[in-house]
Every structure is written in C-alpha cells, then in structure tokens.
Symmetry: D2
Subunit: 143 residues, 4 copies
C-alpha cells in the first residue's frame, strides 16, 4: 500500500463529520473502523433488507460499499476546502455475498492534482471464513 501525505492535518475529524451527514451511509448501517491517509476500512452488519431474492448481499449494497470506502479514501487526501466526487466506478463481483458481516477496504492508488484513482475490496465473513466477494475501482474528481 502506497504512503500518502495528507494535505489536511484534520482529515480524520473531517471524514467523521462528513460521514455523519451522509444519509444513505447511515441508513445502511456502515461503520468505519480505520481512517488513515489514503485508506478507509469499515464494516456492515448484513440485515435481511440488504439482500436480493436469493439471500445474498445485493450487488447495489456492494457497489455502495465500494463507493463509500474508495471515495472517502480519496477524501482523506484533499485540501480542507476541497470536495471529491465520483466520476465513475466499476465493480467486479467475484463471489456470492454470503455471510453476516461485510468488511470493506478502500485505498487510493494515485492522487493527482485533479483526479484520484482508488480501489476497494469487499469481503464477507461466513463461518469464520473471509471471502473476497467484490473488487472495485473508481475515478474521483477533486472540486
């Protein structure tokens, strides 16, 4: 994992506050466990309403988790007055989302002046096994 130097020394507090105001994040129940420069980790307790018809985690929830951790990972690196918006993201669904908790890691792979690139990995825990269920990559614009 690459080392990044944050431009905003208070980035951790800023992320915590931004997340408090993010309605959909809070509605789903996403919890952050680690906020570092260029890296966000967190988890989601999987409820019945997060699932699709077969009982797996819905791909839309997985996509949301990718967007949350990859996007906020970029957010840790911008200047105080800057914002980050998602230009695009791709999610590869590697395995069915089976389990009771989803663990999520988002990390920046390139921090440019105007564009950031980040990736995300989503795992589910099932019978004490962690399975990588999705890998995501996104492009983020600094505003």
């Amino acid at each position: 994992m690459q080392q990044f130097i944050p431009q905003n020394p208070d980035f951790e507090q800023m992320i915590v506050e931004k997340m408090k105001e993010n309605h959909f994040l809070n509605h789903l129940g996403f919890k952050t466990s680690s906020i570092q420069a260029g890296l966000i980790e967190g988890s989601l307790k999987i409820e019945e309403y997060h699932k699709q018809q077969v009982g797996f985690l819905h791909g839309g929830v997985t996509a949301t988790l990718v967007d949350l951790v990859a996007g906020y990972a970029c957010f840790t690196l911008v200047q105080k007055e800057q914002l980050v918006v998602t230009a695009e993201m791709k999610i590869s669904y590697l395995n069915p989302g089976l389990g009771s908790i989803a663990y999520c890691k988002g990390y920046v792979i390139k921090a440019g002046q105007k564009l950031y690139f980040a990736e995300a990995e989503i795992f589910t825990e099932n019978n004490n096994n962690l399975t990588l269920i999705a890998k995501g990559s996104g492009t983020y614009m600094v505003m």
Copy 2:
C-alpha cells in the same frame, strides 16, 4: 433498441415475482413501469435517506438502480429455469443526482449463450426537466 425474442413466454410474470422477493429493491422503493423483452423501466421516489451529505442522490443508490434495471432486462430473456448474476458493472456519473424522482431504463445490448451485456440510463426529474445523471454497463452470466 434491438428486438429480442424471449425464451420464456411468461417472463413478465416471472420478473414481477422475482422482484417481490428482492429485499433491497423493495426496501429502497423501486417501482417498475415497463417489462418488455430485453427492457426494464421503472422509477424511484427519492427520499432523504437515499441521499449523500450534499443532498444529491447517493452514488450507491444510482449504482443499485443500474444493477436492477440492467440485470432484470437480461432476466427477461433467459429460459424458465435459468438465473442471471452480475459479473461486473461500471457506472459513469454524468451529472449530480438532483431531484425528487429517478427514472431508470435498462436494456440488453447483446444476449449470448452464456453472457449477456446490458446498459442502463438513470435520469432525475427536477423542475420538470429530465437530466441524465448516470450511464451504466454490465456483464451478466446466465446460470
């Protein structure tokens, strides 16, 4: 829009029933307005909890809408006993998701034997104007 010949004559009823069992679809409040061979249209009344911190539709909700309409569009074309799973999808976020209703269209662009390719367009209505806020493309595997 390409014309497709459905392999399951009861595809419309099948989609309606599959959607009834899709927990996350129903939790979000997605409503289908049209089910045709290779095409799904629908809408979402945008609630406060669907938004991110700036008040726009959350990118994860938009991604979910892409997955729903593109995935079910593929589902209209498979045989009775077959399923469709998302292999991957990409979403380009063209404009901020501002408005009170999201309109969604998903359509198949290639129906192969094992793989389907579909696209989706997500619009929001704001002051009687429709804006294309996102375009998606996905790969779907027939099982």
Copy 3:
C-alpha cells in the same frame, strides 16, 4: 445523439493535424471519415497483423479504436489551447471481430468543465453484414 457547440471553430482542422502526429494511429492505418462536434467516425482495414491467434481482430486493436474515436470526439469540443487525456476506459467485447474492415464511431455523452464522458461503437463488416463487436465508454480529462 446530443448536439454540442464547439468552443474552437477550427476544431476539424485541429483534429486532422493532431491525428497526423499520432504515431500509433497512423501505424495501425486508421482512417477518419467524419469529424463533427462531439462525434468522430472512421475505419480500419483489418490486416493480418491486427489479429490474434484465432484470426479475429485483436482486443487490443479494438480497444485502440475505442480510445481513438471516443478521445478525439472529446477533443472536438475543447478550447483551442486545451488537451484531452484518457482517465479510464472500459470495453465490452460483444462479438468476435471477424471481417475485413472495422467501422468506428465515438461520441461525447457529457461535456463538463473538467471531465468529458464519451462512448464508442466498433463494428466489423463481414459478407455485407455489419456486426457490433464492441462497445466502449471512457472518462476524459481536459487539461
């Protein structure tokens, strides 16, 4: 197809000149047939060296064609002193690249201040039939 207003009245001449200096474009033998605001069309006579081991057009050539027509379509819309660079692109391979000519169309779907989004369609001609072999989408940054 959306209508765009070019910021550089001499965009056609500018594209012609940029293409003359593009080594890989000329090496492959790509020929432009139409340069409009937000739209590029062209073709490639498929030679033996453009193919992979099974005799189809190589996916890398197809990706190159996507990048050329989608990227130059964005280029038609920027100001005189501006450049466009590809941030990312995705190519869906819908059908095998069988035939003697590839026809290519790239078009802008959103022209923002800093970011452009464009798509491309690649067809091959085989026995007087045109087949859509690939669909691409990309994000382009104005510099």
Copy 4:
C-alpha cells in the same frame, strides 16, 4: 498474490505456442519473461510507432498490454482443450507513459468455472525509475 493450481500441466508450453500465433502481440514486440499458474509477466521495448502525438505510449498499446498479460494469466489455468475470451476490460490511466520500456504483470484474482477475473499493472521505466502508468481489470470467459 493468490496461489492457483493449473488444470493443464503443460500450460507453460501451451502459452508459448499460443503467443507465437498471436499476430498483434508479435507485431508490437511484446516479450514474455515469466509464465506461472495465474501470472504472466513481460515487457515491451517502446518504439516511436507505439506513441501518440505528445510522445507518450499510446493508450491503445497500454490497453493491449493489459489484455495480453491479464488474458494469458487466465489462459494458464484452463483445461487443455479450453479457450479464454475477453468479455470486458477496464483500464485506468494513472500516469503518462513516458520511458523506453514497458513492464507488464497480469494476474488472476478469481478463477471460477465459467468466468475468470484478472488484473494487470503496466509500468514504464524512465531514468531508472519505474512508474505505474496503468491498472487494468478484466472479465474472461472460459470456452
């Protein structure tokens, strides 16, 4: 990097032979340096004709390198009589392709029964520094 068990014990020889017949690979001058189960490494000496108008490696060449190493990485894992075709790929262009040699690594991240997922990293060497210029991800269908 995950460990994979090849289904074809002669996969290395098979890859060497498939590559000999790949016209575009040989035309560009790609050289393989390592063939392992689920992993391909190689390089390209960057010539003038590989470049775009500004003198950087053309994004189409980069996309081709992604497709080559990610696709052949999947190919190492299939059964003797099976083939692999690219369903889709995405390339993120992180840095300008400046330098005289491109180093390429492709690796499988999930080997399913019908679908494989792989990623690729493309570096260029410039003044003894290696720069990650592109990251790719693709979906590959076993036939």
